[in-house]
């Protein structure tokens, strides 16, 4: 009797075809297809059909030979992600220029009053001036104008330029002074105010303007004003050049943004935690209240909006009232996000503290009967809802060579991380935070604003294009090319993506980008692997687990399974990526489990 097991997952639908008879099941073919629509709804039929047909083709059998289609109880999982920035650096009255252009000119510190280039002829001898050169002034004229003023006795101590002309101007000055260029919003430089311009030698960083006391010395500030200027100094640390303009009414302030609070409901009560307190505080509250029965975010905040949306989507999907939908898990991760500074004169970015939140809701009600009926109609074959997903996953995982009970399954998906333990009864748990959160962290921390690039960066290794023909991989080895690399890749870090090289549009070195990638995977999957296993392990002790099999799409990642195995090593458990039926890797576990379970039903097998 020919059967097919179908596992409808959140992102992928997998199928396997098997011949059942008196002996053990003979597996003939497997396939996967993208899940169509939200898992657990009738829209899944298209994806399921595609997977079934592909598996049959591989098996070399036809739809007419199929006796039964076995489908898992696909319960919908809705997950959401939100990012809450909890600090913000604001410059008021444009007191700082810290964009760190590539080619500043001159070196040293220059202090004077901001004077527009056009006004230079009007200044008198002895005046200390910082010349502000706007758009449309040719570099030859700029240099000539400064030299002329200097000849008359005006002390031009530095210059600030809109165009990328610093070196061109400095090279033509009688006496070189520090010049900061590429100031895009030059018209916002407050003229008539006292300013300090500092440029360090090539390869070095500024020493005075990145030091609160340095700024205090230059502008003769008292202690109170020095305290207020401290965020400016902090923002300029590591720069090769900077400008600080003393404006009486405003200063740079960083403030903690009210990021709102999260209320977690447990069996014995509820606790509220401010997201601004950071991920550790949030997760401590989650642990304290566990098991989480529900969660709410403060209305008007990103987190609040995201949690409401997750709830609304599920309510719509299962046609149940909104207040009956329960958020079962929340994961908070600390992160840094480069954000544009409000009031910056040259498009400066600052790294702001942020908290990424993932929330998940799962229900046991899904229109499975409807889905099964739709599928039956589409294929003309009997469809049976096979069993609880966790049970099936364990059965499939047990076909991995070298496994035995007690066996725990860790399923690393896109929207959730799930674990199940088979020790007599099967006990399962579902946690928020998985592949999608990793991608979001990578995207945010590198300031990419490009989900697709972040996704590719997550999945593939990096290399630095050292020349047109040479790539240095992240492990230090070199790869040579026959054809030159495209110019957009020259001297850049590239992702060795599936469809070619993708240049990463940041100025970070390979090591930094690699660390962001690995850290994101660690903060989500290693944390969640341990969290999930702690929930299902007998007595919460991981040492009680014998074998852990890692399954799911994210188990195919080139780093994640190793990171998890390394984190679990101290507990003395055997942990590794599954190899379903010794050939499928971490794929096809539930589909295989469905077939296995069906074959084990004596009465059914005979029908």
């Amino acid at each position: 009797m020919l059967v097919v097991g179908v596992d409808i997952g959140n992102s992928t639908t997998e199928a396997c075809v098997a011949e059942l008879g008196t002996g053990p099941a003979v597996y003939l073919g497997s396939a996967l297809a993208r899940t169509t629509g939200v898992k657990g709804t009738t829209e899944n039929v298209h994806g399921a059909e595609r997977a079934i047909r592909a598996a049959l083709t591989e098996a070399g059998r036809g739809m007419d030979e199929l006796a039964t289609v076995l489908v898992n109880e696909a319960t919908p999982v809705i997950s959401g992600l939100a990012m809450e920035t909890i600090t913000e650096t604001i410059i008021t009255e444009s007191t700082m220029i810290g964009h760190n252009p590539d080619t500043p000119g001159g070196a040293g510190l220059g202090v004077g009053t901001c004077v527009a280039f056009a006004e230079l002829p009007g200044r008198v001898a002895g005046e200390e001036v910082v010349c502000v050169i706007g758009t449309g002034v040719d570099f030859e004229d700029a240099a000539a104008g400064i030299n002329a003023a200097t000849a008359r006795g005006v002390v031009v101590t530095a210059a600030v330029v809109c165009a990328d002309d610093a070196n061109l101007i400095v090279n033509r000055l009688g006496r070189p002074v520090p010049v900061v260029d590429e100031v895009t919003l030059i018209e916002r430089v407050p003229l008539g105010m006292r300013a300090a311009v500092e440029v360090a030698e090539p390869g070095r960083t500024i020493r005075t303007l990145s030091n609160s006391y340095g700024i205090a010395t230059v502008f003769e500030l008292d202690a109170e004003r020095t305290r207020m200027i401290a965020p400016v100094a902090r923002a300029l640390v590591g720069n090769r050049s900077a400008v600080v303009v003393r404006t009486p009414a405003g200063d740079v302030t960083d403030r903690r943004i009210p990021a709102g609070s999260l209320t977690l409901h447990g069996e014995r009560g509820r606790r509220t935690v401010g997201i601004a307190e950071g991920a550790e505080a949030v997760m401590a509250t989650v642990r304290g209240i566990a098991p989480v029965i529900d969660a709410h975010g403060e209305p008007g905040t990103h987190a609040g909006g995201m949690i409401s949306q997750v709830r609304d989507t599920m309510s719509e999907l299962t046609a149940s009232p909104v207040d009956e939908v329960r958020i079962r898990d929340v994961l908070a991760v600390d992160t840094f996000v480069p954000q544009r500074m409000t009031g910056g004169l040259a498009g400066e970015f600052a790294l702001e503290n942020a908290v990424a939140l993932a929330a998940m809701v799962r229900t046991s009600q899904g229109p499975m009967a409807l889905l099964a009926e739709e599928l039956r109609r589409a294929l003309g074959v009997e469809v049976r809802v096979g069993g609880v997903e966790a049970d099936m996953a364990v059965l499939g995982a047990l076909t991995t060579p070298g496994t035995d009970r007690p066996l725990a399954v860790l399923d690393l998906g896109g929207g959730s991380t799930d674990a199940a333990l088979a020790a007599g009864q099967v006990h399962s748990v579902h946690l928020a935070g998985a592949g999608d959160l990793v991608t979001k962290l990578i995207d945010a921390e590198l300031g990419l604003d490009d989900t697709e690039l972040a996704e590719q960066l997550k999945q593939h290794p990096l290399a630095k294009a050292e020349s047109f023909f040479q790539l240095r991989m992240e492990d230090g080895t070199v790869r040579f090319r026959d054809e030159p690399l495209p110019t957009e890749c020259f001297a850049r870090v590239v992702v060795l993506g599936e469809h070619g090289f993708l240049p990463v549009p940041t100025s970070h070195p390979v090591e930094k980008i690699r660390n962001v990638r690995r850290s994101a995977k660690h903060r989500v999957f290693v944390v969640n692997a341990v969290r999930a296993l702690e929930r299902i392990a007998p007595g919460g002790d991981l040492r009680g687990l014998g074998f852990v099999v890692v399954l799911g799409g994210s188990a195919l990642d080139f780093e994640i399974p190793d990171m998890i195995a390394e984190a679990l090593a101290p507990y003395g458990i055997v942990c590794g990526t599954g190899n379903v039926r010794a050939s499928q890797g971490p794929r096809n576990a539930v589909a295989t489990g469905l077939v296995t379970a069906h074959a084990a039903r004596p009465a059914e097998a005979a029908r």
Binding site: D102, D164, E488, A491
Partner: protein, 108 residues
């Protein structure tokens, strides 16, 4: 032994075009030499690249066409064929090719 320099070979190039081109090179801090030769931008660039101690050559012709070329890539399409209005940007990018840092994009 000649010092490292990007070579610019020009044939009756418009003065402003040449000025902007060399400004881009100078701003990036890369040494360069301007020489007069005959030919169209692409061939001038190839010749300059071959003769340059840093393997980068730029050709500018009387029509204001500019080409940058790398000595190891001769025989293929020139790196960056441009018109006079982008002379400054090409100067920057030819310098960046010599230095080994990412290129500037047009919008900047």
């Amino acid at each position: 032994m000649t010092r490292p320099a990007v070579l610019v070979w020009q044939h009756d190039a418009p003065a402003e075009c040449l000025r902007q081109l060399t400004a881009g090179l100078e701003e990036e801090g890369v040494p360069f030499l301007v020489e007069s030769h005959r030919g169209a931008a692409a061939e001038l660039a190839e010749g300059a690249a071959a003769a340059s101690t840093v393997d980068i050559g730029i050709g500018v012709d009387a029509h204001g066409r500019i080409c940058a070329q790398h000595a190891k890539l001769t025989g293929r399409v020139p790196l960056a064929p441009e018109t006079a209005e982008h002379a400054r940007l090409l100067g920057h990018n030819a310098a960046r090719l010599a230095v080994g840092i990412p290129l500037k994009r047009k919008e900047q």
